[in-house]
């Protein structure tokens, strides 16, 4: 399940999408809108993406993860548009016969997605101001 959606993510469906009797372990990561960042209060987030390339890159991450780890299945669902406080913007799920691979691949997937998939996040602060989020590392993306 590799999807970009503009409504609430059905997190339980993402989790179930990687279930299998072959697997003894599954890891689900969810990222959601956090109220406070460095003392400032967020009203909501707004996400925008380059749809065709974002999906292509997410499929590439899926493929690399399946090659690098012994995982049975992997799902990545990202939400775009406005995401209210506490709501989920990203869900990543992996499953594998043994748990180490599920943990490592899920963490790699979210770390790498944040660095390479063309999706952008704008903070909408409670004081009414807005700001495109700049990742810590401002160097251009490198081809994976």
């Amino acid at each position: 399940m590799i999807e970009i959606v503009d409504t609430k993510i059905d997190v339980e469906a993402v989790r179930k999408s990687v279930e299998s009797q072959i697997c003894g372990a599954a890891v689900l990561f969810t990222g959601s809108t956090r109220r406070f960042t460095c003392g400032r209060e967020t009203e909501k987030l707004f996400y925008e993406c380059y749809p065709s390339m974002a999906l292509a890159k997410m499929r590439e991450l899926h493929q690399i993860a399946c090659q690098r780890w012994d995982i049975h299945a992997c799902s990545i669902v990202h939400r775009i548009g406005e995401v209210d406080l506490g709501e989920v913007s990203i869900a990543v799920a992996t499953s594998s016969p043994h748990r180490k691979n599920s943990f490592e691949s899920a963490q790699w997937l979210i770390d790498t997605l944040k660095k390479t998939v063309p999706i952008w996040k704008k903070e909408i602060w409670t004081d009414g101001s807005t700001e495109w989020v700049h990742p810590d590392n401002n160097s251009p993306q490198q081809p994976m």
Partner: protein
Amino acid sequence: MNIKVQLFAEAREFAGALELEFDLELGSTVLDLKDKLIRDYPQLESLIQRSSFALNDDYGTDESEITEGTELAMIPPVSGG
């Protein structure tokens, strides 16, 4: 050749446009494109220096050659997740 560069997020807001359209010489590279963009839109220079450029849904390098019909996009630092 006539080319279009899709803009997203900060780049789109800065330029006030979803895409920029202009002429490039045949055989131009991403570096040529960046030089041209900076000449035409000096207010975008800092963001262009921090951005990548995508060709047909994949990241290019400064040396990547642009051909007729290449789907081009300016990719400011990403912040998904």
